[in-house]
Amino acid sequence: MQLQEIMKIVDGKVVAGKEHLDHDIDEIFAADLMSDVLAFTTPGSVLLTGLTNVQSVVTAHVAEVKAIIYVRGKKPGRDAIKLAEQKGIPLLTSPLSMFTACGRLFEKGLRSENDLVQP
């Protein structure tokens, strides 16, 4: 599914990287804990998170996350936006809660490969 379509599903807006909205997305991962993103995401996922600092973008870059959607109407800071533009990672913001954003995407058939995370 194209990022553009995902953006519509979560009532999202682009904060950075609008030229990348044609990215094809296979998977979603949702977490506020960056260590969990580093440990459990599949490369190419979209990250839903409430953490808006620059670490969210560094984590996305390191873990090969294709785009970030900030939930609960949060907007990333200037540092995060600058780095995202450098690294070509689109940033979106959604007014929805994490639960509802995930629920809507799940309803549309999006999944996460690590559905059953083994410790």
Binding site: M34, V37, L38, A39, L51, V54, V62, A63, E64
Partner: protein, 143 residues
């Protein structure tokens, strides 16, 4: 085994410098990409480096990072000066953490770092001396 060094570089990390946290691992990632390693290998090296870099920023005073790459081996050494780790076995347990509220606000400090470094390395070695510092050796074999 071909031991020709493709690349060697040293980097410095300052403890408590939260605004620059991640710059060294981002550089390591670009270097490995430029050398031409496969994306899954680069991702493992970048994740392990980033976790280690965050540990330095969160807990140590400073560190030197040494990256060396040959066609068959990526080696990343983190040598920090700082408080050290009292009980390495405990620190390696998932969920064990001594993080502060500030660290947790940044999305780290959940006790996942060292186990995740180990998971992404082919060989992982950690030594520590209380009051002196901690040394990590992360080795990844690209084949």
């Amino acid at each position: 085994m071909n031991e020709d060094i493709l690349f060697h570089q040293e980097f410095a990390i300052s403890g408590r410098d939260f605004s620059n946290a991640g710059t060294v691992s981002t550089q390591i990632k670009s270097i490995l990409k430029e050398i031409g390693f496969e994306p899954p290998i680069i991702r493992r090296a970048a994740i392990a480096s980033y976790e280690a870099e965050m540990n330095v920023v969160m807990y140590a005073d400073r560190a030197v990072v040494r990256l060396s790459a040959t066609p068959n081996k990526i080696h990343i050494n983190f040598e920090d000066e700082g408080r050290g780790i009292a009980d390495i076995e405990l620190a390696m347990q998932e969920g064990y953490s001594t993080a502060t509220h500030q660290m947790r606000e940044m999305g780290f400090g959940a006790g996942m770092g060292l186990p995740n470094i180990k998971k992404n390395a082919d060989v992982f070695r950690i030594t520590s001396e209380l009051g002196k510092g901690t040394t990590l050796d992360i080795t990844i074999f690209p084949d």
